[in-house]
Amino acid sequence: MHDVWLIARREYIERIRTRGFLITTVLIPIIMGGFIFGSSFLGSKVSSESHIAIVSSDLQPALDLQDELERPRLSDGASGPRMTVDVMGAGQETRAILDRELDSGDLDGYLWIAPAATPGAPPAFTFTPRSGDEQSLRNSLASAIDRVLLRERMARQGMAGADLDAMLQPVQIATVHAPHRVDREAAEVSVTVLFFLMYMVIMLYGMNVARSIIEEKTSRIFEVLLATIRPEEMMAGKIIGVGSVGLTQVAIWITAGLLLMSSAMAPHLGGQPLHFALTVPQIVYFFVYFLLGYLFYSSIAAALGAMTNSEQELQQLNLFLVLPLAFCFIALRAVLINPDSSFSRSLALVPPFTPLLMYVRVTLGHPAPWEVALSLALTSASIYAIIWVTSRIYRVGVLMYGKRPNLPELLRWLRYS
């Protein structure tokens, strides 16, 4: 045990001291923060300003629509989307002019109102957006048209203007959270952030384990080490040492993140304050599943490192590491939307996916206690099995140089000892 500790400590100290550690510690949050703020910034940019034109031979409905669209909606708040609307009559050149303006980017789209063929029927609306992807614009247009048509019909049936306004006032739903229940949206944000964190750190440090084994193979130091300690101790020390570096990094990030959120700076960081709600059990679950995930993937990485002789060879094999992680990534959306669906429930029990997906379920869904227990047991058991296999590959592979072993050779390695 003392030797494992020595190996782990050396690995830890040497890694913490490197410039690479400092750089990733600083850069990764900046990149992730950049993504989050960048996308929310872009999102607000897109929806906040749009300029459309309404073409109609009958000006009254067009003006009503303009009024409806330009009025800031209460439910959107002060920062809601704003719209500038031009109203014009239909002329010969109108469509050509509007199309030109669409091309030049002055206009985000135009709505063409054709009078109804039969009296009493609603007119025909045709919307031509600048790009195909104007879902939010189309939505606000549709609801505005609905309101205008409704208002018109009601007015025709003799309802007074004030009554109409009161009736059409959108309903406000106030959300009050029960005590100890985190607001779901905020939890989703924190879980996504932590999911990415886990994903990146497991990937990064799993590869680091493999790389550090290859480095030891190329520097040939392990032969000196093997003259005093067992290969299993070497491997354990490496996984613990490299993993502690990852844990340190995550701890730094989380502490910095919490400090930042609780400080007065938080509201100034984004347009709206970013909720980052974490409860203590969530943080505990995060570390538990993070550890399991790290152990699972880094033992696989250790086996890959022991089987290969160079970084290039490792690249060819790191599919085994990347594929299951990437799958978790793809499945994340589905699990986020419905953490308690049978799909999510069964997937979260499959060991390679448990650390990431069960963690999401535990924070957002309502897994039964037996599910949590089973996921922990299954993952621990498979980690044990993987370490068993890996340490056999490792003890042979670490002394093996030359060509990469093929599958029959690998199976033979497992039978040794």
Binding site: R10, E14, R220, V396
Partner: protein, 325 residues
């Protein structure tokens, strides 16, 4: 009480017999030379002494007891393939390796400094290993092998890659360690070094022991039929009838005498013949050199293909598997 004892050790890798029925023992305070061409099983034998691999049959004992990993703290090992952590500072590296052998950090640091001074590399202490010259790195590795004052020092090709001054320094240091009562085993191809330093030798070829014993016994089992002459003048004496083969260099001749019951007399008659032709500055009658014995023994064992002596060993063949001890 032997420090190391191998008894009828056999080791087979997948398809290749690495060591077959190998037995020898090393006594404390002696220097033991393990000789053999590349791929003959030297490294495999050494690896079995330090538990990196275990023999398939036969027994390895360390310090008069069956091998156990706990004894490894008393063994120092310099592998043939040198390896140090490149990015690590020299002192940290030595302290780390010392700690693995059971030293405290403070003690390891103190000894590391003393050893660096002893081997004239004190200026390397604060540097990173990758910034050092190859020779310096080798000295660091040497220190790592002896820092914990092991009773058994195993060095696989310790002098390759060193300049003559540093090779001599390490040889002297190994001599000092032997005088302190430690057992030193080293493997090498350099027969002149073995001849100068070793008390006992074992020559293995293709996994088999072909020659072993004390240096003196091995040499004296061969007739003193070699003559080295240094001369100025005519080399007419080289046609003397007692000469079987000869190698002629400028003012220097190495002669093998014809087998005979009266070798000593033949040598004297050769000397007087030589004196008639030339001015002799050196005349030495001796046993064959270890190198000649080596080539002869290895050549015998490979009757058809004499050039196989220095065949490069393939990388895969050296791979070993590990077995718990």
């Amino acid at each position: 009480m032997p420090i190391v004892q191998l008894q009828n050790v056999r080791k087979v890798y997948d398809t290749k017999v690495a060591v077959e029925d190998l037995s020898f023992a090393i006594q404390p305070g002696t220097m033991f030379g393990l000789l053999g061409p590349n791929g003959s099983g030297k490294t495999s034998s050494i690896r079995m002494m330090i538990g990196i691999t275990a023999p398939d049959s036969g027994a390895v004992s360390l310090f008069d007891r069956p091998f156990h990993r706990s004894m490894l703290a008393r063994v120092g090992y310099l592998p043939e393939e040198r390896g140090l952590y490149k990015k690590m500072r020299v002192l940290d590296q030595l302290v780390f390796l010392g700690q693995l052998h059971g030293l405290s950090a403070a003690e390891a640091s103190k000894r590391a400094r003393l050893w660096c001074e002893r081997l004239n590399i004190a200026e390397a202490i604060p540097k990173k290993t990758e910034d050092l010259s190859k020779g310096m790195q080798q000295k660091i590795q040497f220190i790592a092998a002896v820092l914990h004052e092991p009773d058994l020092i195993i060095m696989d090709e310790p002098f390759t890659g060193l300049d003559p001054v540093n090779a001599a320094l390490l040889m002297d240091t190994l001599g000092d360690l032997r005088r302190e009562g430690r057992a030193v085993l080293f493997s090498t191809h350099r027969m002149d070094q073995v001849e100068k330093m070793c008390d006992n030798i074992a020559l293995i070829h293709r996994g088999l022991l072909v020659l072993s014993g004390s240096m003196r016994d091995v040499k004296s089992s061969y007739p003193r039929n070699r003559v080295v002459i240094q001369f100025e003048g005519s080399e007419g004496f080289l046609s003397h009838p007692s000469i079987e083969t000869k190698k002629r260099y400028n003012g220097h001749a190495e002669i093998k005498l014809r087998p005979s019951a009266t070798l000593a007399d033949d040598a004297q008659s050769l000397l007087s013949e030589a004196l008639r032709h030339a001015r002799i500055t050196r005349f030495e009658v001796m046993e064959p050199t270890l190198e000649e014995i080596f080539i002869e023994k290895v050549g015998e064992a490979t009757p058809k293909n004499g050039s196989a002596i220095f065949e490069p060993e393939s990388e895969e063949e050296r791979a070993g598997e590990l077995v718990d001890a």
